[in-house]
């Protein structure tokens, strides 16, 4: 076993460390839960943390790995959230057990979000430059407004959809699932931390496997140099689209999990601020660095909660931490210092790769 790990490439080693980190975090949280050490407010944060990790990882696929700026990631999350809630209600009669029903709803949410990503991608992926940023920004706002006017109900006859009012649903008994600006109401709370953890592992595997494959290399080639990528026969539109759709799919799944962690959820939750929040996770964790996204999403989701005792200075401290991390990760001097420290720490005889070239392992490309 150890022999095999030694023989692995630097990239696979780095992946293994990431998986180990995630597994260790899960075990620690489980132990803490069993001993009742975790406060109830933090316990409520467990599913959102998983959700934000998946959001950050999937956005990193677009921003870091594919090199396109997307400002509407919360839009895909909201499609997944609302589609997931509707699916969970509609499937009640067919799938009784809550876990399979949750998984099926997440899948439906993901597929719808992915389809939305594909539709937006068709016009945008033909263009170069900042068009994607502008279009995704608009998309996020448009989706929010559509959901604000969406009424969905379910009764014996099936699903009713209206864009005017609850009355227009013409329901025959049954129940209203989505009620315009009030959002999804009476949600059955299906989400659990275990499923959240499973989703994190799934998303991690999808992204890392993709990145280490022929398709992933093509995606990174387009990011590093579009003209060179075209010159070796890569269809750049196809691979930018691939990263974008996979990312939207994962965000949709995360959205469904997120919604079913609450009893009700409003469309306003998935606005521009949420998109930027996730982008901050990605930038702080490092462009293209998936492990960094996991860590920064976790820390920055817990931090506001952990700082609650010093309520008055909470946001101040949060801002200071953000600025400090930004400065550190953008200062060449500090970076060189950290790199040389790292190189000294990891100088073991088996590692014959030139030290300090890829400070975060193979996947850091930022």
């Amino acid at each position: 076993m150890i022999e095999r790990i030694k023989k692995m490439g630097r990239a696979s080693k780095s992946d293994l460390i990431t998986y180990a980190l995630v597994a260790a975090a899960f075990i620690i949280v489980q132990l803490l839960l069993m001993n009742g050490v975790i406060t109830s407010s933090l316990r409520g944060q467990l599913v959102p943390i998983c959700v934000y990790i998946v959001m950050a990882m999937s956005l990193n696929l677009v921003v870091g790995i594919s090199g396109e700026l997307s400002l509407g990631h919360a839009g895909f999350m909201s499609i997944g959230a609302f589609a997931g809630v509707v699916a969970a209600s509609a499937l009640t009669g067919f799938i009784g057990a809550p876990i399979p029903r949750l998984l099926a709803s997440m899948l439906i949410g993901g597929i719808l979000a992915g389809a939305a990503g594909f539709l937006i991608g068709i016009p945008v992926m033909r263009l170069q430059g900042d068009y994607l940023a502008i279009v995704t920004l608009a998309f996020g706002e448009i989706i929010k407004n559509i959901l604000n006017n969406l009424y969905v109900g379910i009764d014996g006859a099936g699903i009713h959809i209206s864009f005017t009012s609850v009355g227009a649903l013409a329901m025959d008994g049954g129940k209203v699932i989505i009620n315009g600006p009030q959002g999804a109401v009476d949600i059955e709370k299906l989400s659990t931390f275990a499923i959240g953890f499973a989703l994190v592992v799934f998303a991690l595997a999808v992204i890392l496997n993709l990145v280490r494959s022929r398709s992933g290399r093509a995606i990174m080639a387009v990011r590093d140099n579009r003209i060179a990528a075209e010159s070796v026969g890569i269809n750049t539109t196809k691979y930018r689209m691939m990263a974008f759709v996979v990312s939207a799919f994962l965000a949709g799944m995360a959205g469904a999990l997120y919604a079913m962690n609450y009893s009700s959820i409003v469309p306003k939750k998935f606005d521009f601020n949420t998109s930027i929040l996730v982008l901050v996770f990605v930038v702080l964790g490092g462009m293209g660095n998936i492990r960094g996204s996991i860590i920064s999403a976790t820390v920055l989701t817990i931090l506001p909660e952990a700082l609650r005792p010093i309520a008055d200075y909470r946001m101040l401290l949060y801002a200071i931490v953000l600025i400090a991390v930004m400065l550190v990760s953008n200062s060449t001097h500090l970076r060189m210092l950290i790199d040389s420290l790292k190189a000294r720490l990891r100088r073991d005889p088996d590692d014959d790769g030139p030290a300090g070239e890829a400070p975060e392992g193979g996947e850091n490309v930022g």
């Binding site: 496997n209 022929r214 590093d224 010159s231 070796v232 293209g288």
Partner: protein, 332 residues
């Protein structure tokens, strides 16, 4: 409309079609004599009678710019450009560019700075779509194709200002070059199906094999952006070779190399041609390299071909000497 009238019209269109078939010759004549004179001739010819066989057509031998190595004479040329041209705004960056590269020829494209050499490469690889003219790659017309399509058809290049994938390793760079040589879809990749492992092994084997052409296999795990300049240029050639091209375009491959690296490069270019049996078209300012390995040479100045021939012919051409001396005067 009467029946007779109709029949007469039909006969007329048939005659027109016959005339249309004659266009290859007429095109040749046009190329030979220039538009104006030919048009005058045509007017004279049509003036006599439309329906009869044209008798006064003057037939001329098409001046051929086919100069290919004798060994390639009976093979489809790897690359043919006919009347190729592009304008940037008002500037005719390349005009009436004609070139034929034999199947296994090493050809040179030279000219002073700003002559339009790189622009020719960008036209051949469809980074720019030509304003005029045709490009035949191994006999196939590449009109309206995209860069990635012409690459799949068999044209690969390196860049004057190196364009590697700097954050990826040397091996990954070559693997990306092998993109269309080894197949493995997205789903096999995401779910690590058996297909994925087979493909990855194939990628690994082939890329090391290709890196070995330049003796770079031991650097496979280095990050491409951290390589020395000369090695980056060599890696670009390996990556281009990985696409299994019929024509390899090298844009100033010896730029920034020291004399011993350059002489190794010359050996390697010949070795590549012999091993892969492909055509090479190279742009280079280093005249020792050009005169040393190129079989046919085209000289470009201000977007126009000013000379064409063997190294000896080109070196003796007064126009070429003037173009180069003129540039030296400007620099002084």
């Amino acid at each position: 409309m009467g029946l007779q009238e109709k029949l007469r019209r039909e006969a007329r269109t048939l005659a027109d079609k016959k005339e249309a078939k004659a266009t290859p010759e007429s095109k040749a004549a046009r190329a030979a004599e220039g538009r104006g004179t030919y048009k005058a001739q045509q007017a004279a010819a049509t003036g006599t009678s439309e329906k009869k066989r044209r008798v006064g057509t003057k037939m001329v031998p098409l001046p051929s710019d086919y100069i290919v190595p004798e060994r390639d004479a009976y093979l489809t040329p790897a690359l043919e450009c006919r009347h190729l041209g592009i304008d940037f705004g008002g500037l005719h960056a390349v005009e009436n560019f004609n070139l034929t590269v034999g199947k296994t020829e090493i050809a040179g494209l030279i000219g002073p700075n700003g002559a339009g050499k790189t622009t020719v490469f960008n036209l051949l690889t469809k980074v720019y779509q030509p304003t005029r003219g045709t490009i035949l790659l191994d006999g196939m017309d590449t009109a309206h194709m995209s860069t990635d399509k012409v690459c799949q058809l068999g044209i690969a290049r390196t860049f004057q200002n190196i364009r590697l994938f700097p954050s990826l390793t040397v091996e990954e760079n070559v693997m990306i070059g092998l993109h269309n040589q080894v197949r493995c879809g997205m789903w096999s990749g995401i779910f690590r199906a058996p297909r994925y492992w087979l493909a990855e092994r194939e990628f690994h084997r082939k890329s090391l094999e290709l890196l070995d052409v330049f003796g770079m296999a031991d650097q496979a795990d280095a990050v491409a952006g951290s390589l020395p300049y000369g090695a980056q240029r060599r890696l670009e050639i390996v990556r281009a070779l990985a696409t299994d091209p019929k024509v390899l375009l090298l844009d100033e491959p010896a730029a920034g190399m020291n004399p011993s690296e350059t002489s190794d490069l010359m050996d390697n270019i010949i070795k590549i041609r012999d091993q892969f049996q492909i055509a090479v078209l190279l742009i280079e300012h280093d005249m020792d390299l050009v005169m040393g390995i190129c079989e046919g040479i085209v000289v470009l100045n201000f977007g126009k071909v000013i000379a064409k021939g063997t190294p000896d012919q080109v070196q003796a051409n007064p126009q070429v000497i003037e173009a180069y001396l003129g540039v030296q005067d400007e620099e002084a």
